[in-house]
Structures are given as structure tokens and as C-alpha cells.
Amino acid sequence: MTTSGADTASTRRARDLRVAEAFTDGTPPAELRELVIREYHPLVLYLARRYFGRGEALEDLVQVAEMGLLNAIDRFDPDRAVQFSTFAAATIVGELKRHLRDKCWSVRVPRRLQEIALMVNRALPELSQTLGRSPSFAEVAAEIGESEADVIEAVDAAQAFSTTSIDAGVDDDAQAPSETLGEIDTRFDLATGWADVAPAIRELPERERRILYLRFFENKTQSEIAAEIGISQMHVSRILTQTLATLRNSVGPT
């Protein structure tokens, strides 16, 4: 993950090394916190700015990001292979998104992440076909020439937020379905565990119903469903997430 637009890679590496040492060499907790807060202040500002312009004051976003950094310090396990900066960025972004989702519903994905998500969307079908399986994030990152961390963040953001532009241009012509909707509804009605939500499933749009069926009854992967329906894997992911939330709401509060 890029930690600061202004920092060079060597500056970031040196900072990561200093902090990694402090986590393991017995530096007192208060001193460690002070060091991390000082060293990663640029990361806090950078991530807060990324989510600026969506109805929240920058200083509020910086505060949320700082809170995320403090949480990351408390939660980080230096024995794991993941660098602190990667873990901290994920925690900070998580806090920022949670804050924005709570505060403003019109959150959109930052342009840079949208561009990466778009590249991922374009690369996925061919890469999946070449490999004969769903590629890892590292393989996708290598294919499109972006960092693994940026690709992870872009896909996460694209799946979390409304990103109509990312899906634009993907062939939206559904292929001929192999099962009728009546057959699908019957399967849901009769299957153990689905009875409570069967009425809500009948209220879903046809495409949502079919995607749910393909994933949970036909056990098809998201990539296979994407190819069958004619939309992107990320779009399938988002539809599944939203559909499950809809069904959850139909049977009671979260």
C-alpha cells in the first residue's frame, strides 16, 4: 500500500524498518506509540485526504485516521509476516470507511482506486482462463503492474461502495439461463434453512435470485457466475453482499 504520495520507496522502507525494530527490541510502549504516531503521520494525512471531499471536514477525517493508527498499534502482532504499515493502512482505511458510511451515504471510491479496480475487472476474465482458476491478488497485481496492496484496497473499496463506473463497459447481456425462475424458487422453498427467507427471495430481482442460486445451490464460483451472467466478478460480489443483507433484513435486525 502506498503510504504517502510524497515519500520515496526507500524512505518508506527505512521507516518500516525503524518501526519494526521498535516493536521487537523492547522499546517501552509509550515511546513506541510516540514513534509510530510521528513516523506514520504522513500515512494518516494521506489516507484522510483520500476520503476528503465526501461531506466530512478534513480535520475530522484526520482524527478518525489517527484513531485507526492507535488501534493498529494496539492490535499489531510483530510476529506476523505483514508489515506494520500494511496493517496500519488497512485498519485506518477500515475506520475511515466505517466513519463515512455512518456519516455520509454518498461515499464514492477515490478515483485512483476506481482506475485500479477497472484494470482488475478487465484483466480478470483472461487471467482466470489462462490459469484455469481464480488468480491470487499477487498474480493480478503482476498482470496489471500495480502493487498487491493497492489492488487489494481497490477491490475491497469497489466491493464496498457504489461503483457504477467500474462496471460500465462490461457486457451486460445475460446468457440463456439453464433453469427457470420457477425451478429456482422451488429449490429455495424446499431447501433446509432457506424457508425463512424464501418469501424475500421471491421479491428479489431475477438476476439477484439467479446469482444467489448459482452460488449456494450450484456451488459455482463468483468468476463462473460472472461469466455465465455476463457481468464482472466484482459486480457478482457486490450483488451477493447486498442480496444477503436484504435477506438478513427481511428476517430481523442485525
Binding site: 492490535r75 500494511t86 485498519t91 466505517r98 481464480s134 475491497d156 432457506w194 444477503l244 435477506l247
Partner: protein, 123 residues
């Protein structure tokens, strides 16, 4: 590695993002990382509902035996009934069970817990 968040509905977003980052840095395919995110949402939701949003959720990640293991445990909360088993809240269990390679409700000491496993190679 572990993360601890309040056992409240908004925390699910944080857990999903951290799961995406940790799982994304493994060799799991993008499809499977997303399956795990969905399963984590349901597992966290199950624990949150069982405890009526009291306590904290601790999610720990470990790579071993060719798999990514994730354990989500409710701490300092009170879930009067645990394990819930598949008949209670069946939708969330179907999602968890379908999307992961192994899943289990258990007690970690006295704390309600859900374990999830994703193999790096499909069994």
C-alpha cells in the same frame, strides 16, 4: 495477527477490510478471498446478534497446514446460548458453511467463538 473491535454492527466493515488485506496477501484466489469476507460478515453478525451487541470481537488470523485459519471470539460479552447450531439463524450458517472449507462454533474457554478455514488449494 489479531484485531479487536466492539461487538457492534458497524465493526463488521472493519473486520471485512482487515480480512481482505490479510487473505489478499496469501495465495487464495480473489474469488475465495471474497467468499471469506462474506463468511466473516456472517460469523461476526452471528456473534453480535447472540450477544446483543455487548462485548468485543477478537479476530485472529493464522497460516498453517496449507490453510488460512480465522478465529472470531466474543469477549466480555454475554451470549446466553452458544453454540447456536445450524438450526438457529440458519441463513448465516448456510453462508458460512458454503463459502468456507471448514467452520465450527465452539467455546474458547467460556467465550463463544467461530472458527473458519480456507485451504490454499481446494480440497
Amino acid at each position: 495477527m489479531w484485531i479487536s473491535v466492539p461487538a457492534t454492527a458497524p465493526s463488521i466493515d472493519v473486520l471485512r477490510s482487515v480480512t481482505a488485506v490479510v487473505a489478499g496477501h496469501t495465495t487464495l484466489g480473489i474469488d475465495r478471498v471474497d467468499d471469506l469476507r462474506l463468511a466473516v460478515s456472517e460469523a461476526a453478525g452471528r456473534l453480535i446478534r447472540a450477544s446483543e451487541q455487548r462485548g468485543t470481537l477478537r479476530a485472529s488470523f493464522a497460516e498453517r497446514d496449507g490453510s488460512l485459519h480465522l478465529q472470531i471470539t466474543l469477549r466480555d460479552g454475554d451470549a446466553p446460548r452458544w453454540p447456536l447450531d445450524a438450526e438457529a439463524d440458519p441463513l448465516s450458517w448456510i453462508v458460512i458453511d458454503t463459502l468456507t472449507d471448514a467452520s465450527e462454533e465452539s467455546l474458547d474457554g467460556d467465550d463463544p467463538s467461530i472458527g473458519l478455514r480456507m485451504s490454499f488449494r481446494r480440497p
